[in-house]
Subunit: 345 residues, 2 copies
Amino acid sequence: MAVTIYDIAREANVGIGTVSRVLNNSPKVTTETRDKVVTVAKRLNYQPHAFAQALARKRSNTLSAIIPFFTNYFFIQVLQGVQETLAAVGYDLIIHGANTQEQLEEYLVRSMRKGRVDGTLLFSLELPDVFVENFIDKKNPLVLVDTFHPLFDSIRVDNVIGAKKATEHLISLGHTSIGMLNANLKSVRAKERLSSFKETMQLHGLDIHEEFIFNSTFTKNDGFSREAGYDAMIGLIRSGAKLPTAFFVSSDVQAIGMLAALRENQIRVPEDIAIVSFDDIEIAKFFDLTTMRQPMFEMGEIAVKKMLERIENPSAPISSTNFTPTLVVRSSCGANKNYIFSDSN
Amino acid sequence: MAVTIYDIAREANVGIGTVSRVLNNSPKVTTETRDKVVTVAKRLNYQPHAFAQALARKRSNTLSAIIPFFTNYFFIQVLQGVQETLAAVGYDLIIHGANTQEQLEEYLVRSMRKGRVDGTLLFSLELPDVFVENFIDKKNPLVLVDTFHPLFDSIRVDNVIGAKKATEHLISLGHTSIGMLNANLKSVRAKERLSSFKETMQLHGLDIHEEFIFNSTFTKNDGFSREAGYDAMIGLIRSGAKLPTAFFVSSDVQAIGMLAALRENQIRVPEDIAIVSFDDIEIAKFFDLTTMRQPMFEMGEIAVKKMLERIENPSAPISSTNFTPTLVVRSSCGANKNYIFSDSN
DNA sequence: TAAGTTTCTGAAAGCCCTTCCATAGAACCG
DNA sequence: CGGTTCTATGGAAGGGCTTTCAGAAACTTA
């Protein structure tokens, strides 16, 4: 029914081995035979059967990506880096959106099915202990992005330096009363950003007002959400407390929610409250947020490259790379009085 | 090396056929034998080899999705519907981000490789003629989302009704001088929205001011971009012309760009200019945009269901379904004076 | 109890490819 | 020109599974 190499072999009067060699550009075929085979293959509109190839080659040229919170802008951009890099080398990408622990585990199991994928990329989710051994035993390449485990390759953003830079930027603008609007401490990112914020404040001899530090109790997206930011800010305003003059916010989406709360209460940004957030997701510029940029596209790119190296050389030493986020100054911090809305940012 | 059904068969003292039957829940196996096999399979931590299964079953349980402009919020949400529906039935999804015509064609070719995928989902891109025949010949299921071809199943949003509803909403608020900020007419969506806008204006006996109709010349994303909206609005303001009191904008992202341009020029929304846009992407609510909601998640869901039906029954009649967008009233249109920022929208 | 059914099982065939091995023939060498 | 080396080639084996087929075993029935 579908045309196979046997059909080509018959029509071209050669053996299937020769057809296969031609199709795989093996050098040991005469030009004459090659032409004959190529011609027939074209005429029959031959398409190789991907699974048969994968089975014979023991290679699927496919990766899977397990990603939490599918609509999250951070992941979308990392994913883009992954996709483009993969496309360039002819790999396919299977996407798994994991919103719960069960889903995560199911997808991990699926990714370990022999042969299905050559490797899996895990984003921002902690690798359950049970799987550690499993992945290692089965020699199933695993690369972690925005999460960490000593036994696997990983790519992360340096939250400590990022939070430090953000805080110091506010300090450099003269702020002394600085709060932090944080995500849920369940998340490692939130934890690291908070402790670095505190250290930086101390380093500069500034008081840490515990009442101005909000760790979200939201569990959805670990509190990295607009709602979390909105709620935290509304709560603070309602409390009637005197507000700090600046906030370090643990993500752009939270800052966006916070912005809405402030607007509703006629509190101006940056005049009354200056804000520096984290991520630089695409829409951060829509809101003129000063924020710590994570090189998302590049992270995806590097993740794929690491994976391909790992597949080539399974016993290479494990590597962990940290990206340093960079400060992107827009108008929410008050540094840039003449900020003009523009696309170059 | 990896454990196969042969290993299980040996250990359990049964034939491979029996192992396969147990693993596939075939009814004709005694409970006793079944238990024996299951026990051994568990003990050996057996994982079926996906490709070998696919090869034997002539089914891959995998779909591919070809999607333009990877970061576009519309697609992200449709994709989520696709992903979740697919996950529920144990299918995998391969993602192809096509930004150019060449990429589109390459991915279409790849999707047609025998066996690779059971079907492909094409989003918002016109199917090149060459492929029409090809897909039909090879009986390779293809479902179109947000695009159309008479020979394939498709799912679309009714742009005509959507634009009509949007325009009539502005009219109902008393506006008589209404402009349209449109995307590039190259795109079918832009074309349909424009002509429906015009018809609706005429229907209500209102003048169409051609000078207030802007068709973007941007090619990136066919002008469905923030930049396109920003540029168009800035251009109009600079021209010094008297502005209409309301605009129908062909997408949320354009409206967001337009909003920035207006803000820079101290033009208030909705007081000076009312806006109704199209899409209701997730961030539309961040900007309080009144907009036409497309049921994106559902579109993804239905697309998958159609695909699965098509796979089951390749000769079923071709179906084309149209979703009617619904008006979501927020504050940009001026209808809702007491609009409170809230998550229920 | 013999014949006829039904149920379960093992093994072979088949899915389509890559790769290894053996061989035929060409090319080379002294 | 016989013997050796090399190259191109055909075909079998193998990858791991599903499914068909035939036979064995268990069960009915008269």
